[in-house]
C-alpha cells in the first residue's frame, strides 16, 4: 500500500511537471513574457526576443561572434565571453554570453545593466520574481473597505485582467500581463471580520494578490477593468455550493469552492502570428522576415485587447513551426469570439482586412462541418467584423482595404475569422517594424474589436 502511494505520488508529480520559468517584461510599447532557459547553472533569456517588441532589431551569427543591431545601436557579443561591445564601448556581462544555433542568450542577472545600453533609459528588474520594468510603466492600486456589508474595493491606475481562483478563506488574483507594483507594504490589514487582509506577492513573472476572507468571496469588475470589488458571497449560495459569479467577459479561472479545479480560460480572441519557425513567410528585407513582424504585432495586439479587458490567446508566442491545420485546430478548440491571423508585406502600403474566399459548396456530412468550408456559417459575421475593423482603422489615417482572399486557415475556422495584412505606412519597409506604427495599428484594431464585443460574443 505504501509503495503504491509513493508510485502514485511520483506519477502525479511527473504528470504535473515543473512549472515553466518565465520572465515578464513591461514597457510602454508592449507587455510580454518569455521563457527562461537554464544554462551553465544560471538563468538565461534570448536577447533578440527581449528587444524585438521594443524596437527594430536584427541579429546574425558570424562564427563565435554574434552581432545585434537594435534601432541604430550596433553590438557584438562573443560566445563564452562576458565582454561585449555596444555602440563602440566595452561592457561586461554578469555571466558568459551563450550562442545556440544563431540565437544569442544572456543571463537574467545581466539584464538590468545591459538593457539600458540599448534602450537609453532605466530598467528595474525584480530578479527573484523575474519581472522587468522598462521605464515608468508601473500599475499602482489602492485597496479599502467600503459599505455594509463590507466590500474590498481595489482601484487600479490602468485596466487589469487577472486570472482569479477561489478556495475557502481565500481569493487569489494573478496578474501575468500587468506591471502591478505593491502598494507600499506587502500586506494590508482591514477592519473587517469578513475580509481581514490582502497580501501582495511576486512569483515567476507575475504579481499575485491574495485576499483573505472568513467567508467565500466574489470578484466583480467595473470601470473598464480599473476597479475590482471583492464581496462576501450570500449565505444561500454557499450552502448550495454554486459557482461564484464573475462577469462572463472576465477570463477568471474560478473553481468550485470545494474541489478547487480550475476551469479552462475563455478567450475573446485567438491571434495567429502567421508563419514561424522554418516557415519564414515573405522576406520583407534582407534582414527581416515576415514571421518576426507578425509575432511582434500579435504580442502588441494581445496587450491592447487585454488592456480593454478582452483576453486573447496567441497561437504562437515564439519562433515555432505550426501547420495551417494545427493553427485552425488550436483556434477552434479555444472557442473564441473571433480569430485574427496577421500577415506583413513590403508591397504597397496601409492595411488590408481579409475574409475567407470559400471554396465551392461541399456536400454536407450529417451533423459534421466539412473542414474546407467550416467557415461558411460564420462568413456574414466575419464580414461584419472586417467592416468594423476597417472603420476603426480608417481613423488612423492609414489606407485600409476590405478584401476577400483565398487565405487559409480562415476557411477552416468555426468562428468569425479575419486576416490582416500590414504593409508599410508610405512604402518605407523599415516602418513595418517601427513600434510606433505597430502600436497605432494594434491600438485601433483592438478598439474596433472592443466596439463589436457584444455582437461577437453573442455568436459563440
Amino acid at each position: 500500500m505504501k509503495h503504491t502511494l509513493v508510485i502514485a505520488a511520483v506519477v502525479l508529480l511527473a504528470w504535473l511537471g515543473p512549472e515553466e520559468k518565465r520572465i515578464s517584461i513591461y514597457s510602454n510599447a508592449a507587455n510580454y513574457s518569455l521563457p527562461v532557459l537554464a544554462r551553465n547553472g544560471q538563468e538565461y533569456v534570448g536577447l533578440l526576443e527581449v528587444l524585438e517588441p521594443l524596437g527594430s532589431v536584427t541579429a546574425k551569427a558570424e562564427g563565435a561572434k554574434w552581432k545585434l543591431r537594435y534601432n541604430k545601436i550596433q553590438s557584438e557579443f562573443t560566445a563564452g565571453r562576458k565582454r561585449v561591445r555596444i555602440a563602440g564601448h566595452d561592457f561586461e556581462l554578469a555571466a558568459n554570453f551563450v550562442e545556440e544555433n544563431g540565437r544569442g542568450l544572456v543571463s537574467l542577472a545581466s539584464l538590468s545593466t545591459l538593457l539600458p545600453q540599448f534602450l537609453g533609459g532605466p530598467v528595474t528588474f525584480h530578479e527573484n520574481s523575474r519581472r522587468l520594468f522598462v521605464g515608468n510603466v508601473a500599475v499602482h492600486f489602492t485597496a479599502q473597505i467600503k459599505g455594509t456589508p463590507a466590500a474590498l474595493v481595489m482601484e487600479f491606475s490602468s485596466p487589469v485582467n487577472p486570472s482569479i481562483a477561489t478556495e475557502p478563506g481565500k481569493l487569489k488574483m494573478v496578474f501575468s500581463h500587468e506591471p502591478l507594483v505593491p502598494p507600499g507594504a506587502q500586506s494590508l490589514t482591514f477592519n473587517s471580520s469578513a475580509i481581514p487582509s490582502l497580501r501582495y506577492d511576486e512569483n515567476n513573472g507575475a504579481a499575485e494578490l491574495t485576499v483573505s476572507g472568513t467567508v467565500l468571496l466574489f470578484a466583480k469588475f467595473g470601470n473598464d477593468g480599473r476597479t475590482i470589488t471583492i464581496t462576501a458571497a450570500p449565505a444561500p449560495q454557499v450552502a448550495t455550493q454554486t459557482q461564484p459569479v464573475i462577469p462572463p467577459s472576465v477570463p477568471a479561472r474560478v473553481p468550485p469552492p470545494v474541489e478547487n479545479v480550475l476551469a479552462p480560460r475563455r478567450y475573446f480572441a485567438v491571434i495567429d502570428a502567421s508563419h514561424g519557425g522554418s516557415e519564414r513567410g515573405a522576406a520583407l528585407t534582407d534582414q527581416q522576415a515576415e514571421k518576426d513582424v507578425t509575432l511582434s504585432l500579435a504580442r502588441r495586439l494581445r496587450q491592447e485587447l487585454e488592456n480593454r479587458g478582452l483576453p486573447a490567446l496567441l497561437v504562437r508566442d515564439g519562433d515555432t513551426t505550426i501547420s495551417l491545420d494545427q493553427r485552425a485546430s488550436m483556434a477552434n478548440a479555444a472557442h473564441a469570439a473571433i480569430y485574427i491571423c496577421l500577415h506583413a508585406t513590403s508591397e504597397g502600403n496601409g492595411v488590408r482586412i481579409y475574409t475567407a474566399l470559400m471554396p465551392g459548396v461541399a456536400d454536407a456530412h450529417g451533423p459534421f462541418l466539412t473542414w474546407e468550408t467550416a467557415q461558411a456559417p460564420f462568413r456574414a459575421t466575419s464580414q461584419s467584423a472586417a467592416a468594423g475593423i476597417t472603420t476603426a482603422l480608417e481613423r488612423t489615417q492609414v489606407p485600409v482595404r476590405n478584401l476577400i482572399a483565398p487565405l487559409r486557415p480562415l476557411t477552416n475556422l468555426i468562428a468569425p475569422a479575419v486576416g490582416i495584412e500590414l504593409a508599410p505606412p508610405a512604402g518605407d519597409v523599415a516602418e513595418l517594424s517601427s513600434p510606433t506604427y505597430q502600436q497605432a495599428i494594434c491600438s485601433s484594431l483592438a478598439a474596433g474589436l472592443a466596439s463589436m464585443r457584444d455582437k461577437l460574443e453573442a455568436g459563440r
Binding site: 515573405a282 500577415h343 504597397g348 488590408r352 465551392g360 478584401l403 476577400i404 483565398p406 487559409r408 495584412e421
Partner: protein, 198 residues
Amino acid sequence: MIPRNLMITVAVMAAVTIGMGLYLVHMRHRAAQVETGAASARPVTPPVSGPTEQVTLWVADDSSGMLRAQSAKLRLSSGRQERAQDLLRALIGIYLDKDSPHRLAAGSDVRDVFLVDPGLAVVDLNAAFADGHRSGVLVEELTIASLIQTLSANLPGITQVKILVDGKSRDTLAGHADISQVYQLADAQQMLAALQGR
C-alpha cells in the same frame, strides 16, 4: 610474331572505338545545347500563324492593387486548350516585361492548360512561376485573379479553375494564397468585385 591479320583487326577496332567515343561526346554536347536553349527561351509569344483576334487580358496592377482590362490583338491557336495557353502566355508576357505593372520572376511560364468537361480549366504553371513569385496575400491574390479572369473572359463555358505547379497540386502560390482548392468562377467573381472596390 603477331599475325598481320590480327594486327589489322585490332587497329580497326581501336579506330572504331575512338570514333564512337568522339561521336558520343559530340552528341552529348548537342543535347546539352538543346536543353539550355529550351530553358532560356521565353515561350510567351503566341503562335505566328492564324488569324488575329481581339481579346481582353485582365492585368494585375500592383500600384492600385486592382486588375485592369487591357485589350490586345493576338494570333490564337484553333484548339480551345491551346487558345487558353496562348492567352495566359500573352498575359505572362506582360508581367515579364521590364515595365511590368505586376512583375513575375524570369522564366515564369504556363506549361499547359487542360480543359476538362464540364467547364473545368486546369492551369499548370512551371516551377519558376511559383518559386519566384513574390510572397504576400494581395500580390498572390492579384496573380490568381488575373489568371482566372483572363481565362473566363475569353473562353466562355469555364466555370472552375484549378492551378497546378509543375503538374502537382500545391497548398499556396508563394506562402499565402491557397491554390489547393478548385476555384469556382462565381466565388472568384466575389474576390474580383472586392479587389475592384465594387
